[in-house]
Symmetry: C2
């Protein structure tokens, strides 16, 4: 039935090695990078910014940011959030990472036949509330329903558009040796919040996801005149993956200081029980900003309580990202091969 | 786990009547209208254009159109197209329906674990080719993978953005009594193409989907100075649903002339075998333009071979849409209650 002559197509992926899509191809690690670099970029190419959180583009007389994310998180509701609020905040945050003021979102729903209407209603109310919190408008949408057993309740895609603030280029290419890496809070809570629900783990108090919009923080940095070189939100693959991607793209190294990276005691405890590393856990309200060291203090002030300077950019190194541990040993922080937690976002 | 107090939420949908999502809620008929009008619009509201193909918005100094669609078509490949080309053309066409020149697309993939990598590769190549044909760039994307049995091979969401051409408002509110309804070709081929594959029907020659980009035709109308009052592409729900929506929104009537509506003999034959009505079949490269009658001829010239004047706008009427049949009787053309063909797009 296909119009394609399959024989004439040469897929550059090592199809013998990975003949089928694996969960890890969506996990934010090495396999997803391979899929992006060897399938999507060669096909769609041309857009320099295509592999970042959002593309920055010319439209009419403006410089805009455009981004998309699908949300397939399981379960749909978890402490601190749900698929609806995530679908708004996640996309708003991607626009912010391009230095843009988020303005409009689209909402595409793929519903599974049999989904209780009351669940859909709750999710939609949550999206509306989140849009209000984040200062964006959901302006157009689409609904598809797939047969029972061909979906999983609700999948949501949101795309977002905003106007880029100022004319600074925010990209790994701007990162310089001596820059510092700032993070806007403690890490790992979203991953553990999801995992705890899935595994039925009970803590003294529930660990709530950090899911939140961060655009206001980013715009505060820009408005304060901070020379922001690079921004990245710490979603799938966590801090470790974000820094590896940036370091490789910039052809530089990053040295982290474990003592400066805040991980809540309950998150650390859950990680030990479950065998996770907080550096790889997904966050939904955390990002790094890479700025000149002399502006670190002013930038931290913009980011408010909980923000910290966690590392420094070095000359190119192999491995690209290392971390000085609390006991003073140097540890490699590698890009994840597979996926730590499927369907975390 | 939810942050919501379900008891405090009053869902305006008749939940007793439809406690669960049905396939028909995505089918383009009455149930989908109910979902949009009673759940999505009240929650996201405010955007006047939200229920059309695309929202028209101010962004920076420009008037832009923004749209989204998810594609869940089954099967993935069919005569005349595949999910990849549809995902590009469908969204490009939605932008065109707002009078915009399509410029950038996003691409969000939800893949099912176990999907053959070669299928993904084919679909991506098809998207790239379709983007080239339609003159748009796919500039950013996202990939999620869901566990086996929680998806169905590939779902694709595309969102699109473009700058609105000229300053004309294109909307049902602009439609006037005496305007004529033009269509750019024969109807029903996409629906039958999909159904034939699903049902294993063989025709003398395969019926190919009409899937194609129509933005160039729309821009030709606008550039020729045609006073385009309303545009609508004839996807889910077909010609009948599109006209019903417009007539109700405009508080006017539409009288169709069956003899003027082209349906290919093979499509008509398949409809008779399968029990379908071509007026309700989905198309992926067909749209209606409602224009002043004195510009009908000039407009048809822009639309080229196959375009036809198929009806006229009347004073408000009940039912809103009627059709003079080939034998001279007047027939009601109602909004579809359920869904004629699930997962047609």
């Amino acid at each position: 039935m296909s119009d394609f002559d399959v024989a004439s197509l040469s897929c550059p992926l090592p199809i013998e090695q990975y003949p089928h899509v694996l969960l890890a191809h969506g996990g934010g690690g090495r396999l997803m990078q391979q899929l992006i670099n060897q399938v999507f970029l060669p096909a769609f190419g041309g857009a320099e910014q295509v592999q970042h959180d959002a593309a920055t583009l010319s439209l009419g007389g403006d410089r805009i940011a455009l981004t998309t994310d699908s949300y397939v998180v399981h379960p749909l509701f978890f402490p601190g959030g749900d698929i609806g609020s995530m679908a708004v905040y996640g996309t708003v945050n991607d626009l912010a990472m391009a230095g843009a003021q988020p303005q409009y979102l689209t909402a595409g729903f793929i519903l599974e036949e049999g989904l209780p209407m009351s669940i859909l209603w709750q999710v939609v109310q949550s999206m509306a509330a989140a849009a209000k919190t984040a200062g964006v408008r959901i302006v157009t949408g689409d609904t598809k329903v797939v047969d029972r057993g061909k979906g999983d309740g609700i999948f949501i895609n949101t795309a977002g558009v905003g106007v880029v603030r100022g004319d600074r280029t925010i990209s790994p290419s701007q990162v310089q040796v001596g820059d510092v890496v700032l993070v806007n809070g403690d890490i790992g809570r979203h991953g553990i919040a999801i995992m705890a629900v899935r595994e039925g783990l009970m803590f003294e108090t529930a660990i709530e996801s950090d899911s939140a919009p961060v655009a206001a923080d980013v715009l505060a940095l820009l408005d304060a005149g901070i020379e922001v070189h690079c921004l990245r939100d710490l979603t799938r693959g966590g801090l470790a993956s974000a820094l590896n991607e940036i370091a490789v793209a910039a052809n530089l190294g990053v040295r982290l200081d474990e003592r400066a990276i805040a991980v809540r005691d309950d998150v650390q405890g859950a990680c030990e029980i479950l065998g996770f590393d907080p550096l790889y856990l997904a966050n939904e309200g955390r990002f790094i900003a890479i700025v000149p060291s002399q502006q670190a203090e002013a930038a931290l002030e913009c980011l408010g309580d909980g923000a910290a300077e966690i590392g420094v950019v070095t000359e190119t190194s192999k491995p690209p990202v290392t971390m000085m541990s609390e006991i003073g040993s140097l540890r490699t922080v590698d890009l994840l091969s597979g996926e730590q937690l499927p369907r975390i976002c």
